[in-house]
């Protein structure tokens, strides 16, 4: 019995994994993320321009000017003093500087200044010039006060119970990680659902099911298929985790991005996501299995995938509403809706500590719905196994569950 289940599972795994489209799916998510990040970094670099910036200081505020410290000295912009506006304009026209500032004699009273350029100066240039001006305005103060006045303050917002902290207003990597895991699970359940439906409908569509059921029981076939699909998902998950570790290593050690340094992982958040994600995964697979068992062709059942996807990503449409009141009635209600719950709880957990009773209730609801869907799938598969090329509706499936109809369907009469 076991060997037959394994045979089905191995076949399912081989058929789906050893083909180009699977490799494409496997690599698409990390490559897409890498592309988006790379593109973002490229666009960011385009906003910076390391060409010098000039200034004409008739107010006398930048005489014997002290340079402001720059976090990365290689990115320091050079500031060049010009005697007259004409000199600065000539330098701008010759491309020696990207822009210049003019401080008139009345600057001390009015604070008026002028910025002149042909192309918008880079953000780094204007920021560094601001620092340069500020530190020189504070030249009479001790250096540490002048530096603090120039750099300003950095605020960490903390919840009164200390459960959440947002340095500079944003959540740290450790808190965001459960949402990333939630998103990965979401993509995983989408692909698993797709594999499941294709796996079920394939044999019905090409009529091989009539041959297979002569040597494998429906139970063995379903178990083997589910096992194969779980292996496929694990392959995907392992590949994504490896990509994730590589990306984290690069971010921490090569690019030295501070957001990724010394992350404190939110294990409670991870547990919450897994508690909701696992039954949601089985719900998706069971629903796809049910649909696959009822349609005559794979194409007919493809409408369910987008519905699950839309439901799963729907919390992103309400992110402002959830964010404004993460423990409010709307956010709590959305946390209970199948598929939407995964991302909703992920987003809420990023902002506040989600009460455990809500997580348990949501996971319980998803489990009950998933069990219902599995039961329905089993009924649909048994009832529709030999009705090749025919569509089966829900009413027929439910009726097949009643004792009289069940007996008839088991006897091969529908």
């Amino acid at each position: 019995m076991m060997s037959k289940i394994l045979l089905v599972a191995i076949n399912e795994y081989r058929v789906n994994v050893f083909k180009k489209s699977f490799i494409f799916v496997l690599l698409s998510v990390p490559l897409f993320l890498g592309f988006i990040i790379g593109f973002g970094m490229f666009m960011d670099s385009q906003e910076n321009d390391d060409a010098p910036v000039g200034y004409v200081d008739t107010a006398g505020i930048l005489q014997d000017a002290t340079p402001a410290p720059v976090e990365n000295p290689e990115e320091a912009i050079q500031f060049i003093a010009f005697e007259t506006e004409q000199d600065a304009k000539s330098a701008l026209e010759e491309g020696r500087i990207q822009a210049y500032y003019i401080f008139g004699e009345d600057y001390q009273e009015s604070r008026n200044a002028e910025l002149v350029y042909y192309d918008t100066p880079g953000q780094d240039a204007t920021r560094q010039f601001n620092d340069f001006l500020q530190i020189n305005l504070l030249s009479d103060f001790p250096s540490e006060i002048a530096l603090r006045g120039t750099e300003g303050s950095s605020v960490t917002v903390r919840a009164p119970d200390g459960s959440r902290e947002f340095p500079d207003g944003g959540p740290p990597f450790g808190i965001v990680l459960p949402v990333i895991i939630g998103l990965a699970l979401m993509f995983l359940l989408m692909t698993a659902g797709g594999f499941m439906m294709e796996g079920v409908v394939q044999e019905r569509e090409n009529r091989t099911i009539e041959v297979i059921v002569t040597s494998v029981s429906p139970g063995q076939m379903v178990t083997g298929k589910i096992l194969g699909i779980v292996w496929i998902c694990l392959t995907q998950l392992v590949a994504w985790i490896l990509f994730g570790i590589l990306a984290l290593f690069l971010a921490q050690n090569v690019y030295e991005i501070s957001w990724f340094q010394n992350p404190v992982i939110d294990w409670e958040g991870m547990l919450a996501i897994l508690l909701i994600g696992i039954p949601t995964f089985f719900l998706s697979v069971a629903l796809m299995f049910t649909v696959g068992s009822t349609v005559a062709e794979a194409q007919e059942g493809q409408g369910l995938g987008p519905i699950i996807f839309i439901l799963s990503i729907s919390p992103t449409w309400f992110i402002m509403k959830i964010g404004e009141d993460p423990n409010g009635p709307f956010a709590v209600a959305l946390s209970m809706v199948p598929f939407a719950s995964l991302l909703t709880v992920g987003i809420r957990n990023m902002l506040v500590a989600v009460p455990w009773w809500q997580i348990v209730l949501s996971a319980g609801l998803q489990t009950v719905v998933a069990l219902g869907a599995i039961w329905l799938g089993g009924q649909a598969f048994r009832f529709g196994m030999l009705r090749v090329g025919q569509r089966i509706n829900l009413r027929e499936i439910f009726r097949s569950g009643t004792p009289r109809r069940k007996k008839l369907s088991e006897g091969g009469v529908s």
Binding site: F141, T150, A159, P160, E297, E324
Partner: protein
């Protein structure tokens, strides 16, 4: 001709009887209008907060506490209302006061503030999406105190320049320093997200319309091939007539859908200025709506005909889905450019201009540029002429593919075979 009419009518009736089509074409815009109506109704019953006399006064600041471990705060800046900041000796006392409702939040200034620059803001609504925090109050207080209470100098450090900007470029584009422009959709309007994002929404919408409606044509053809309906149809109708009937029929259905969406959007924007907080001088010119529909029709004619060609060659729907990417790829490139800063940030730059004239990417990129405005008329004319010529060429090429022996051959599909067939060499 009568047979084309029959096919056309069949396609229209079939599409209009699909619940999915009705929901997407009419259900979603109607739902949008309904939500918009309810929101407008609710807003009309609420008082206009912005016009209340106390709205802009300093009484907005709630009483907050602070625990100053660094010993910096000796005075509260004179421009803050009295008792805005209350000192506490330690965090537990401040936490008690917060719990008791005496203060709305409190700050902790650590001993090493001067070196680290960090302080903690304990707030009941710590969510970054919340607008409840007023942490600038503490930043300002600390700055004033570090500068020995010199508010004039602190103010100068807080905002060192009132900057006048001079762009010497003879034809300057709107940039982050110059004044924003909210009279038309695009990046130049920073204060209104809807106005800023409208070109992107238009691109997404028309990309979806074009790809879904042309995909529907492909699905219909392959379905009829699979269920052998095609073999029966071939007996009584010329393949070219069948293709023409299908393309025109589904085109009319899609046009109805686009028109309904565009009219709904226009109605909401025209009537909902207050609801969407639109600037008073904002409007979408009727000419833009006409260009949208024209570009959609031409884009549909090209894409759907190319999809029809795939439908003629593929043996089954699964292969059709894999083959459709050849047709959608150029449009996806255009889409990617149009919704990212490459296009949105520089709508009349070289990349955007070239892609908006190239017929296979024009349906999305030109829609983005037209929505933003400022496209020279000659570019519009060239684009439309090129799209019409391309549509004629492709219709002729695909018509050659619609022969019984090609449609019913069952040969495997390949990209090479598709291009050879388009070139008339297969």
């Amino acid at each position: 001709m009568r047979k084309i009419g029959l096919i056309l009518r069949h396609e229209i009736v079939t599409a209009l009887s699909r619940p999915g089509y009705l929901l997407f074409a009419f259900g979603i815009p109607l739902l949008g209008l309904l939500i918009f109506g309810v929101v407008t109704l609710i807003q009309s019953n609420e008082p206009d907060i912005a016009n209340l006399p106390e709205a802009n006064s300093s009484s907005e600041l709630e009483v907050e506490g602070y625990v100053d471990h660094a010993g910096i705060i000796r005075t509260i800046p004179g421009d803050l209302p009295a008792d805005t900041l209350l000192p506490y000796a330690d965090e537990s006392l401040a936490a008690q006061a917060l719990e008791g409702g005496e203060i709305s939040a409190y700050y902790i200034v650590p001993e090493d503030y001067i070196v680290s620059g960090e302080f903690i803001y304990v707030h009941p609504n710590s969510s970054p999406f919340s607008s409840g925090g007023k942490d600038w109050v503490m930043s300002w207080t600390l700055l004033v105190n570090m500068l020995d209470g010199d508010m004039e100098l602190a103010s100068r450090i807080w905002n060192p320049m009132y900057l006048k900007v001079t762009n010497l470029d003879p034809a300057p584009e709107v940039d982050r320093f110059t004044q924003e422009d909210c009279s038309k959709p695009g990046q130049a309007c920073e204060s209104n997200a809807l106005v800023q994002m409208l070109p992107m929404f238009a691109v997404i919408l028309f990309f979806v319309f074009t790809s879904v409606s042309s995909g529907q044509l492909l699905a219909n053809i392959t379905k009829e091939k699979q269920n052998r309906m095609m073999e029966v149809l071939m007996l009584s109708i010329d393949p070219k007539e069948m293709m023409a009937g299908k393309i025109i029929g589904l085109g009319l259905v899609s046009l109805l859908q686009v028109a309904f969406w565009v009219v709904s959007m226009y109605t909401m924007i025209a009537l909902g200025g207050n609801t969407f907080n639109l600037p008073t001088d904002f409007s979408i010119p009727i000419s833009v709506l006409i260009w949208w529909i024209l570009l959609f029709l031409l884009g549909y004619a090209i894409t759907a005909t190319l999809m029809g060609g795939i439908g003629a060659l593929v043996p089954n729907p699964k292969v059709a889905n894999q083959g459709s990417w050849i047709v959608l790829l150029p449009m996806m490139i255009g889409y990617f450019v149009a919704v990212t800063p490459v296009g949105q940030g520089d709508p009349h730059g070289l990349v955007s201009t070239v892609l908006s004239i190239f017929p296979l990417t024009a349906p999305v990129v030109m829609i983005m540029r037209i929505t933003i405005g400022g496209v020279p008329t000659w570019q519009l004319v060239v684009t439309v002429v090129l799209m019409i010529l391309t549509a004629i060429f492709i219709v002729r090429a695909v018509a050659r593919m619609f022969r019984a022996q090609t449609i019913l051959s069952g040969q495997p599909f390949s990209v090479r075979r598709y291009f050879l067939a388009l070139a008339g060499r297969a």
